[in-house]
């Protein structure tokens, strides 16, 4: 089981702040592709520029997923 979180514009587009997933692929990049393949808002939200984090650290698409991870998809940041 992993926990997936969506933030800001992504969360608004997807209509959800997150989900849990028991069957997940080996990398976060594959996970993003699987989510985008749901189509509709999912394809649009996750098909563009999106930042990825595992356990609150930014990672690249090759980062491996493991049981218990907190995974997050984030739009480009606009703070400051």
């Amino acid at each position: 089981m992993i926990r997936i979180r969506y933030f800001a514009r992504l969360r608004d587009q997807l209509g959800t702040a997150g989900e849990e997933m028991a069957d997940y692929p080996s990398t976060i990049g594959e996970l993003a592709a699987n989510l985008a393949a749901r189509g509709g808002d999912w394809g649009e939200a996750l098909g563009g520029t999106v930042l990825m984090a595992i356990n609150q650290e930014m990672v690249g698409p090759d980062a491996p997923l493991k049981e218990g991870d907190e995974v997050a998809f984030l739009p480009p940041v606009t703070g400051g």
């Binding site: 800001a8 608004d12 930042l51 739009p75 940041v77 606009t78 703070g79 400051g80």
Partner: protein, 159 residues
């Protein structure tokens, strides 16, 4: 190096934070600071839309870690006595302060450069997001600026 990193809804006190940063440390000769404010026009290519309020969202936990990491890198790169980073979240009105970065060093160049570095990297790596509300009540997420990516990249290119 002393550091103080906070994410909060409350306003901050620039004078009090500046005094606290340097109090009792007589090796400090220079304090540089940056205050970011909510301004009336905020959208790229749309300079005529006035905003009414702004809501700052963040990723609790990850934000603090990201700011801490940015300050780590600044402390490796410059000789600093103290750094303060305060970033507000929640609903903010026009003219209100959003972010404060204070850096203290013996010399002014280290203070200036590290302050600018922290802001530039914060702008592209710290998980904060701005949503504007316009006077007609409509809301929109602020787009990331290409210029922010370039400002951050120049530090990584080794100056």
């Amino acid at each position: 190096m002393r550091r103080d990193i906070r994410v909060q809804t409350e306003p901050f006190d620039v004078g009090g934070e500046t005094a606290r940063l340097s109090a009792g440390d007589h090796s400090i000769g220079a304090v540089a600071s940056f205050v970011g404010l909510v301004r009336a026009h905020n959208r790229v290519g749309d300079e005529h839309a006035e905003i009414a309020t702004m809501t700052l969202e963040h990723y609790p936990g990850m934000t603090e870690k990201a700011l801490d990491r940015i300050v780590d890198v600044a402390a490796e790169r410059w000789s600093l006595q103290a750094v303060t980073v305060i970033h507000r979240v929640g609903e903010l009105h026009l003219g209100e302060p959003i972010v404060l970065v204070l850096t203290a060093s013996a010399h002014r160049q280290a203070a200036f450069e590290s302050c600018q570095f922290i802001m530039d990297i914060l702008k592209t790596e710290a998980p904060f997001w701005k949503k504007e509300r316009l006077p007609d009540g409509s809301e929109r997420w602020v787009d990331a600026r290409e210029s922010d990516g370039k400002a951050a990249a120049r530090w990584l290119a080794g100056d």
